[in-house]
Symmetry: C2
Subunit: 120 residues, 2 copies
DNA sequence: GTCTATCGACTACAGTTGTAGTTTATAGGA
DNA sequence: TCCTATAAACTACAACTGTAGTCGATAGAC
C-alpha cells in the first residue's frame, strides 16, 4: 500500500487530530495547500480504499481515523527510501543530509545521544 | 525533474559504468529486473528527455552518460524525503532507520566519526 | 547481393496521481 | 414548508509510470 505525496498531507492532519470530518481536514490544510474540498474528499476516499484510514459515521457525515500509525509509516518509508537510493546503507544518508540541510548543533547532539543509546 | 523508481535502476547502472549502449544497460539489469530491451530503451529515452542522461553517438547507436552525479541526486532525494516525511528533522529519521534496519556496530561507528567531523 | 538482427523513433495502453466536477439526498435555517 | 448549503457517491480527465509493441533503416553474416 503506497501513500502518495498529496495523500500524506492528509494523513499528517489526521495523525495530529484523529476523528476529523472531511470539511475539518480541508480547513486544516487551507494554510498549506490550495485544494478545494472536493480534492480533499477524493484523497480521503482513496486513503480509506487503501486501508490507511477508517471511517466512523457521525450523523450524515464521516469522521476519519488513521489505521496506520505515523511512526509505523515513517519506519517503513525510511527503510524503503534507504534501500532504493542508498542501497540500504544509513550512514551515507546521514552524510548527505548533513550536506544538504546543514545539521544544526542541536541535531548533532541529538544524534550523538541517539547513538549512545543504540550502543547499549 | 523527478527520477522514478524504474528510471533510478537505469541511472544506477550508468553511474557505475558511464558510456554504455542501451543493450549493455539491459544486460547489466538482467539479473535484477525482468525487463525487455524495449522497456530499458523507453526508460533511457525518458531519462534523456528529462535531462538526467545525455547521449554520445557511436556508429548507429548511442552511448549514455549521466548528466547528474549520483551524489547530487542522493543529496537532493534525501533532502526531499526528510522534508516530506520527517518535517525536515534528520534525527528522527536516523532513529527510525535504527529501528527498521538495525544499525550495525560498524554503522554506528561510522556515524559517530561523521558527527565528530561535523562538529568541527 | 540478400537476409536478418538490431538500431533509433514513434506509438500503445492500462494503472496511478493530482485535481477537480456532477448528482442525489437531506439537515437545518427562514 | 420550502430553500439552500453541504454530505457522500460517482465520474472526469490529463500527466506520469511501468511495461512493452511497431516501423523503417542498416550493418554485418553468408
Amino acid at each position: 500500500m503506497q501513500i502518495t505525496q498529496a495523500e500524506l498531507e492528509v494523513m499528517k492532519v489526521l495523525w495530529r487530530a484523529p476523528g476529523l470530518a472531511a470539511s475539518d481536514v480541508a480547513s486544516a490544510l487551507e494554510s498549506e495547500q490550495d485544494w478545494t474540498i472536493k480534492t480533499v474528499k477524493t484523497l480521503l476516499a482513496r486513503l480509506v480504499e487503501k486501508g490507511a484510514l477508517k471511517t466512523e459515521p457521525d450523523g450524515r457525515r464521516f469522521l476519519y481515523h488513521p489505521e496506520i500509525k505515523e511512526a509505523e509509516y515513517r519506519k517503513r518509508a525510511a527503510g524503503q527510501f534507504v534501500d532504493r537510493v542508498f542501497d540500504g546503507r544509513a550512514a551515507p544518508l546521514v552524510a548527505h543530509l548533513a550536506d544538504a540541510r546543514g545539521l544544526s548543533p542541536a541535531d548533532i547532539e541529538e544524534l550523538e545521544s541517539l547513538l549512545e543509546r543504540l550502543k547499549s
